[in-house]
Symmetry: C2
Subunit: 412 residues, 2 copies
């Protein structure tokens, strides 16, 4: 639906082109084509250029395919990311672009879908080169946790680029969504009220800001003073219009205002998945697995309330896709769950399993468990999070998986 008086349309860029990034480009491109009064017709997708060869089993394999080609050129020619999302046809309005600055030029909506470790560098390349009133959404899960504090990835992006950044997270295995199998997601979007046609009654604009020394103290007013309002020539970026950017018949979107909760869910679920893998590896069955999932969800809630008290809502964890549903998916067959289960069944360390089974990739759950423990220790709060602490202790060899029931038993 066009907003009265709107003259410009939103240009959208996907910053990233891996498995999840290409999937997001596909569905966003389908949506901009369906809402032509709101969005420019093409979607830019920033590609970190590399040479690829078309696999022999690809439908795009031919006599010339054995010589390496540029990934970006191949995407724009065959409308498929043969390396990271094979066998999925992309809409022709997805345009691969290897120049990150050019891909974001004039864009008012930047969707970040990069591996965690590349986000800071990508932002640094964009500083001063983007529309000053652009808005961003982080689709990368996770937070930066250390013994000094917690920073949401959305905050990292927002603070480096001096723009507002929301978050998208849910029970979202990319390959299933690319195949248009049904799933849901949660989008948190709660910009400060300077976008006058987009009042944000829930939460304060500063609620997603965290002082790194003491993350429970936000910094009132700081960000809203710096942000530039979206000019009135653009359609408002209301929850309704943000939903139109992501929602598909096979991808149901629920909008919330709790950026911290959505971001924490995607990070902390990996610790829970390790715990579920441990008890499942012991052969304890479905009761036990459901129990650690339930206890884990409540520790997520407690963590959010303790360190993001101003913004976090219990329901983000207990009722949204980014909370309970993502925990369920991660504990049914996710990588952290499977490796933890295998470690117990084989009597090997999870580090050994990681090396043998993951082809050089790293488990997010173990690093998150260590980072969260380091932070909780610095706050003197390890005992308040017995499941998170139990997972850390098991990884450290200081506790056994068999101890989990006793370690998480509530005394009242």
């Amino acid at each position: 639906m066009a907003t009265l008086g709107a003259q410009h349309k939103h240009k959208v860029t996907i910053v990233g082109s891996g498995n999840w990034g290409t999937t997001m480009a596909k569905l966003v491109a389908e949506n901009v084509a369906a809402h032509t009064s709101l969005f420019e017709p093409t979607v830019q997708m920033w590609v970190y250029e590399e040479d690829v060869t078309v696999p022999k089993d690809s439908r795009h394999y031919n006599a010339d395919s054995d010589k390496p080609q540029k990934l970006s050129q191949l995407i724009n020619k065959v409308h498929e990311n043969v390396k990271y999302l094979p066998n999925i046809t992309l809409p022709s309005n997805v345009v691969a672009n290897t120049d990150i600055v050019d891909s974001c030029k004039n864009s008012t909506i930047l969707i970040f879908v990069l591996p965690h470790q590349f986000i800071a560098k990508a932002c640094d390349q964009l500083v001063g080169k983007i529309m000053p009133y652009a808005r961003a959404i982080s689709c990368t899960k996770g937070v930066d946790v250390s013994d000094k504090g917690i920073r949401l990835l959305a905050e990292t992006i927002g603070m480096r680029l001096n723009i507002y950044c929301g978050a998208l997270s849910g029970a979202n295995i990319a390959s299933e969504i690319a195949q248009e199998k049904y799933s849901e997601t949660t989008v948190a979007y709660d910009p400060p009220p300077i976008d006058s046609r987009n009042p944000t009654p829930k939460g304060s604009p500063a609620s997603s800001q965290v002082d790194l020394i003491n993350p429970s103290k936000s910094v009132p007013g700081e960000r809203s003073a710096r942000l530039q309002a979206l000019p009135s020539e653009y359609p408002a970026l209301s929850h309704e219009n943000i939903k139109k950017l992501f929602h598909r018949p096979y991808f149901h979107v629920h909008l919330v205002s709790d950026v911290a909760g959505v971001s924490l869910g995607g990070a902390l679920k990996n610790i829970i998945a390790l715990a579920a893998g441990f008890v499942d590896g012991l052969g304890w069955g479905d009761n036990a697995k459901a129990a650690v999932m339930r206890v884990g969800i409540l520790e997520m809630v407690k963590f959010g309330k303790a360190f993001f008290a101003d913004s976090v809502r219990t329901s983000t964890f207990t009722e949204e896709s980014c909370g309970v549903a993502d925990v369920v998916t991660s504990c049914m067959g996710g990588r952290n769950f499977r490796c933890a289960k295998m470690a117990i069944q084989r009597g090997e360390s999870i580090q050994d399993i990681e090396q043998k089974e993951l082809n050089g990739q790293k488990l997010q759950g173990t690093s998150t468990a260590y980072e969260v423990n380091s932070f909780l220790k610095s706050q003197g709060m390890e005992e308040d999070f017995p499941l998170f602490t139990a997972v850390y202790s098991i990884l450290e060899g200081k506790a056994k998986p068999e101890d989990i029931p006793q370690l998480i038993e509530t005394k009242n």
Copy 2:
């Protein structure tokens, strides 16, 4: 912990001796032995007598085993229920008793663990024969739903016997608990304040009573006027002491006051398990399965709030074992989930699968889906519960599993 001035101890009877009943007898007997100042040392277990033969693979099989024996006598001789809970040794303080009245004589705590259809008859045999101030807990899951209204099983027991009845429900596969594998449960216990040493600050005494014509209207004061107070010679049946009756190192108990929520969770989860089986049968993967589970939990909340507004708490469904954890367990491998999945994979009706695979047993999910639909229809509220209604429509052949995303899509 003994209460000062208490002279009597609570005698406990388990009314039922199937798979779940015998499991409850085992763990309750372990607990009465551990809390000798609160409870009488033996636990009566009512056994519906039948002739059994010891299976050849049983450790209790011997030369005499081929002739049928009375189940009750066998239980008391070998301390095992060879028919319904084989290979699990019962504590010697579990006493099987075939006389339901005698088994409940002088008992102040009656734990009902009977199949749904036998509860009314068992209660009728006990009317006027039990301690007038006895208290009950229903461990049988489910509710009686029809187009006239909803009655909790705990209400059925309480009203027939004119005593207070709470409920126990959770992610509790009996065989896993009998093997002392870790699990959790939820116990709802909220008697009226006439047990003076047991004030119930949360919820009103009448909140678990429902007018069958309009279940959202409770009947204030009716029950508390009829109930007899627990004499002061007995230890108070506080949440603390009720927890001591059920909690074990391998069976973690959380006490709540929401009898309606605990009871509804155990019934409605079976509809959700059918939906999860349908989408899993389509090969839609873990995102889709987690999505219908999440939507289902929220419909449980909505159902509870609509028809038990006075007593139901959202957290019973989203945070307790009887809610989210039981949904998880039921959707991972429960009978309703498995049959629904099989029906889709084989292209057969769920009724055919039920007949072929369940050996004469009936799926609870299908009957609950029909009963709930009949009730919702009578209230003009089918559209308010799109997932429950979708499951009914699929069972009726009026919708296809592929329609689920569209049927449950929220418009805002």
